[in-house]
Symmetry: C2
């Protein structure tokens, strides 16, 4: 029992049912030890100020500070845990985003419980781990013919939206209209319309409803 140096894991998810569930699953594995858990991003950051773990299982959709925020917090720290992102959606855009800011693995929640064990061990071993559907999507992106692959990237990898656009996107997804957004941000309605226009183009949706849906799917609200 004292022989193995267990992998210390911290779990962050706003659904306590899921945390308790994952804990119960991981308890069956001898190499893994759950040393902490958090219900929101703020608590995660707080926890790591006075504790440390080898791996962090991180949900994207959390109150206060979300998974993205936590990743950004860790991004300029030298000593940080390996991070497995947990998400309801296996959205390739989201995968790209979180990889860019320091995630080591990506696990869709639809995966079997056993996979989370595998994911933790894999990232702890210094490799990257992706659940099946994600893996396939990534591969298919780079397996296309040369001329097609560039277009495919244009189509799938969104030219990332700017900070300002993100603000507008969030407000649109909160049911505010152009005039109200302009007032809140102290900018002209014309400017808001320009941003909305660019968002619609970049995110390849048809209208404000599409933007709101995108925002909700990507847990921006």
């Amino acid at each position: 029992m004292g022989k193995l140096k267990k992998i210390k894991v911290h779990i962050a998810d706003d659904h306590m049912v899921l945390i308790d569930g994952i804990k119960a699953v991981l308890k069956t594995d001898e190499e893994i030890d759950v040393v902490g858990s958090s219900l929101n991003g703020e608590d995660v950051i707080e926890w790591y100020k006075s504790n440390k773990s080898d791996v962090l299982v991180l949900d994207i959709n959390m109150p206060k500070v979300d998974g993205i925020g936590v990743l950004q917090e860790f991004s300029n720290q030298t000593s940080r845990p390996r991070i497995v992102v947990l998400s309801s959606y296996d959205d390739i855009k989201l995968v790209k985003e979180v990889l860019k800011i320091g995630a080591d693995g990506f696990l869709a929640k639809k995966c079997a419980g056993e996979q989370i064990v595998q994911a933790i061990k894999t990232v702890h071993n210094g490799e990257q781990y992706f659940s099946e559907g994600v893996q396939q999507k990534i591969v298919s992106l780079f397996s296309g013919a040369d001329n097609e692959s560039k277009q495919a990237q244009d189509g799938v990898f969104v030219s990332s939206i700017t900070d300002r656009e993100l603000s507008i996107l969030k407000l649109i997804a909160k049911e505010f209209n152009t005039k109200e957004i302009g007032n809140q941000l102290h900018i002209s309605v014309n400017t808001v319309e320009t941003h909305r226009k660019n968002l619609i183009r970049k995110l390849k949706v048809k209208n404000a409803v599409g933007l709101a849906i995108y925002a909700h799917k990507n847990q921006l609200v």
Copy 2:
């Protein structure tokens, strides 16, 4: 071991991680036995054609047939399991909806794992179970002064939307505009606008974006 007649439980959720997690949690309880699980509503209905359980833990947001659909399927059956609805959102409107069509309990996913054990035992015992936040909301609705309570009900309990309105709502949430919806349903754009108007009024939102958000929050898509 053979002494206790265990409570047979079936779990339905589209996230296998959650199923495996709940299974692991329930395994620690001597009175409960997980006898099956499903990843979508169709499988749930299929399973119960040749099996039975005492309690069904049912997620609302599932592909193919969602939790609502499963409840409706059970609603006119004599022999059906007690049902605990599991949902990401502790939306009082949703609670009212599922209770009306036969749910026995309502558990928000943010609850602790232990609560699911309690919920299963409670509904199996013939009582209703609600997680804390939901309980509070229900109580607060009926604890108000007489003159206020009626208004409060008007505000919180939505005058339920009709089947046709639901169809339109779903299509709006899929980014279709009025003309497209009219074509798909073979009705006039005027009619679609009427339905949309009534939806905006009934759901107390400001515009189509609000409708889309409502639809997504309530997992109608």
